[in-house]
Structure formats: structure tokens, C-alpha cells
Point group: C2
């Protein structure tokens, strides 16, 4: 059976859970507490030298890392990933944008503010806030003329970008100027099988510094 | 015929030229001078709202943006991109890592130093230098037990990561502590059809600020 090494409050992990639910696939969930050192063990480093969740272990023992690569594997051959090369290239484009811009800016800002790793008015918060609004502006422009991000239909690109962008408000980001983006959030949430089981960070996350890899 | 909007000194563009050469595919090359405002025109914004090269225009008029998405499209159905889902997921993983870490750290540092946009000893140079060495360390560790990055053979993941990592020295990065990485550079360069036509930035690039989107 598929085995997902998973942290409930990680939106990168939530992506995988969302697609698994939409595909109605069984899997074994292995909880990994990133604030309790679970990613800092030698055993976890053998699974993923980057010490990040999620990790997906396949039936044959192969291991996949990187949330969007896991979405690709799970989505292949299903309606969530088109087969045509140009359509696949569009999906690749948005999976990359999610990790190069959406996740580090919106997700990175949210994580660091909630866990008190950076000051709300400081230089790093400013850099990531600026990046977060730039990412939302680009998404909003694209979604003003596209129902979904890629290939003219709901794909793993949408579930990936949804994961961190829908909690932008928790990073102090005001999305009211991006109506096409907000309408798209609603279209994602209206998909068959949609679930949202993303948990909040623990209330004492800010005092657990040093027990996670995230600075 | 395929049309590539291309800047000769961009390693993101070089990736596409390298794969097109390896595939022996004909294409029309449209030179785009990022230092002469060519990406700042309304016409270019219609091609790519992010105002970045490369852009690939297909025979049917469809437009693909994002260098690694272009590699995916060109590689599909060829020996440069495996068909098996888990192998494809590995390629996706490295294409993402290239854009989230290798390109912004090594490529971003190189561009900003050569064009005098940042100070060699300043805070941003320090941040990107640290990130560049972290990226090289991760590549070196992976390549110490893998001949190529993904799927057990040469794929578009290798050509993508090669593009910026092989010019790390131009960003002041010393790669001598990463022998597995350096040996892999040699294996990439030994591939059939390998070309390296990446040009240097223009000597006066530093005085052309304001005529490109890159800060």
C-alpha cells in the first residue's frame, strides 16, 4: 500500500492528501512532527536528504520526494493530469511556479510569521509580502481569462497552487483586490471529492525553534 | 516551424537550444535582447506576461513559457523524457529544484554580480552564495550515488540543471569540493549532440539597468 510520510499542518502534505482523496486511493499515513525533530533523525534523512515532508513510499519500496512530484506520480493516467505534451508542459509550468514563488512567498511568510521567526515589519517580511502580492497578481491575471490554471480543466496544477494560496490571509495578505483568484478558489473547492483537512500550526510552534529544519 | 524567442546569454534559453540540438529539430530563432527593452514591449507581454525568455511558439500558434516546461514539451516521446510515472515524477522533482534553488541562487547571483546590481560582500550576495553552495552540496550528494539526476539515465532534468550550475564559477562559486557534481558535468558534456553556445553577458550590461525586468 502507498505510504505517505505526512505532517497535518503542512500545505505541501495537504496537496497529497487532497489528491489521494479525490482519487479515492487507500494509503497508510505516517505522521511526522516537524516540530518534534521527526525529520532530523538519520532514518528520515535516508528517506529524504532534504529532510522535508511529504515523502511517498511506493509498493515496490521506491521513494518519491517533493510534493509536486508526488502529485505528478499520483495524477498520471487519471483525469487530473492530461496526457498531451503541450498540456503537460502547462501543468509543469504551474507546478514550478508554485514552488518558486507561491510556496516560498505566501507559505514561507505565513510559516515565519505564525512561528515568530521573523518580525512583521522587518526586511524579510517585506520581501516575502511583496513577493506574495506579485504571485497573487499573476495568478489573478491568468485566472481572469482561464477557468483553471492549465490545459483548460482542473488538474494537479490547481490543487498544488490552491494549497498555500488559499491560506494567504493567515500571512496577513489581503486578497480582496484579486477577484478572479478568489472565484477560482471557489471552483477548486467545488470539485468532486474536495477535502480540506489542513490543520493549523501548533499554538506553541514559536517556542519549538531548533527542533525543525525551517529557519 | 517551432519559433524560439531567445536571448543568447540566458542559460534558461540555452537549455532549450541544447535540447533542440540534441533532438536535431529545426526551429526559427527570434533574438530578444533583454538589455534593450525587447521584453518590455506590449507585444512581448502578450506572449508572456512575466516578460521572460525563452518562449516557444508551436506550429498551431500555442505559446509555451517557462524554460523547463518547454523542455518537457520538446522531450515528451523522446529518449530525453521517460514515460513511466515514477520516473517522470523524478524528472519533475529536479525541474522544480532547478527553478526554486539552482537558478535563483547560482544564476541569480551570477547575473547580479556581473551586471553590478549587488555588492560582492553585501547581504543579498551572502544569501545567494549560501544558497548556491547548499544547492551544489545537495547535487553532489545525489550524484555521488547516481550517474544522472533522474530515472537512471540522461534526461531533460540533467540539461536543465546543467545550464546554470556549469557556470557557477562566474558567480564566484568554488566547485572544487564537489567532485561528484564535477564528474557529472563531464558526463553531460559527453552526451551525443551536446552543444554549448551560451554567450557571455554584454560587457556594458551593468550600465543598461532599467532596460530589463531583472533587478
Amino acid at each position: 500500500m502507498l505510504r505517505l510520510y505526512d505532517y497535518a499542518a503542512s500545505a505541501n502534505c495537504y496537496k497529497a492528501r487532497l489528491l489521494l482523496a479525490q482519487l479515492e486511493r487507500d494509503f497508510e499515513r505516517v505522521p511526522i512532527d516537524i516540530f518534534d525533530g521527526d525529520t532530523l533523525t538519520p532514518e528520515f534523512a535516508r528517506l529524504n536528504p532534504r529532510r522535508e515532508v511529504p515523502v511517498l513510499e511506493l509498493d515496490d519500496g521506491r521513494v518519491l520526494v517533493e510534493s509536486n512530484a508526488i502529485l505528478w506520480y499520483l495524477g498520471a493516467g487519471t483525469p487530473f493530469l492530461p496526457a498531451e505534451p503541450a498540456a503537460q508542459a502547462e501543468v509543469v509550468r504551474w507546478l514550478i511556479y508554485e514552488q518558486s514563488d507561491v510556496m516560498p512567498m505566501i507559505g514561507g511568510l505565513r510559516f515565519r510569521l505564525i512561528t515568530c521567526r521573523i518580525e512583521p515589519g522587518g526586511e524579510e517580511a517585506h520581501r516575502r509580502t511583496t513577493g506574495a502580492y506579485a504571485a497573487l497578481a499573476l495568478l489573478d491575471e491568468h485566472l481572469s481569462s482561464h477557468e483553471f490554471l492549465a490545459a483548460g480543466r482542473y488538474t494537479v496544477a490547481d490543487s498544488s497552487v490552491y494549497a498555500y494560496s488559499h491560506v494567504a490571509g493567515q500571512a496577513g495578505i489581503d486578497t480582496s483586490a484579486y477577484p478572479a483568484f478568489r472565484a477560482w478558489l471557489g471552483r477548486v473547492e467545488a470539485q468532486p471529492g474536495f477535502v480540506n483537512d489542513l490543520e493549523p500550526y501548533p499554538a506553541n510552534a514559536s517556542v519549538l525553534a531548533g527542533r525543525s529544519i525551517y529557519g
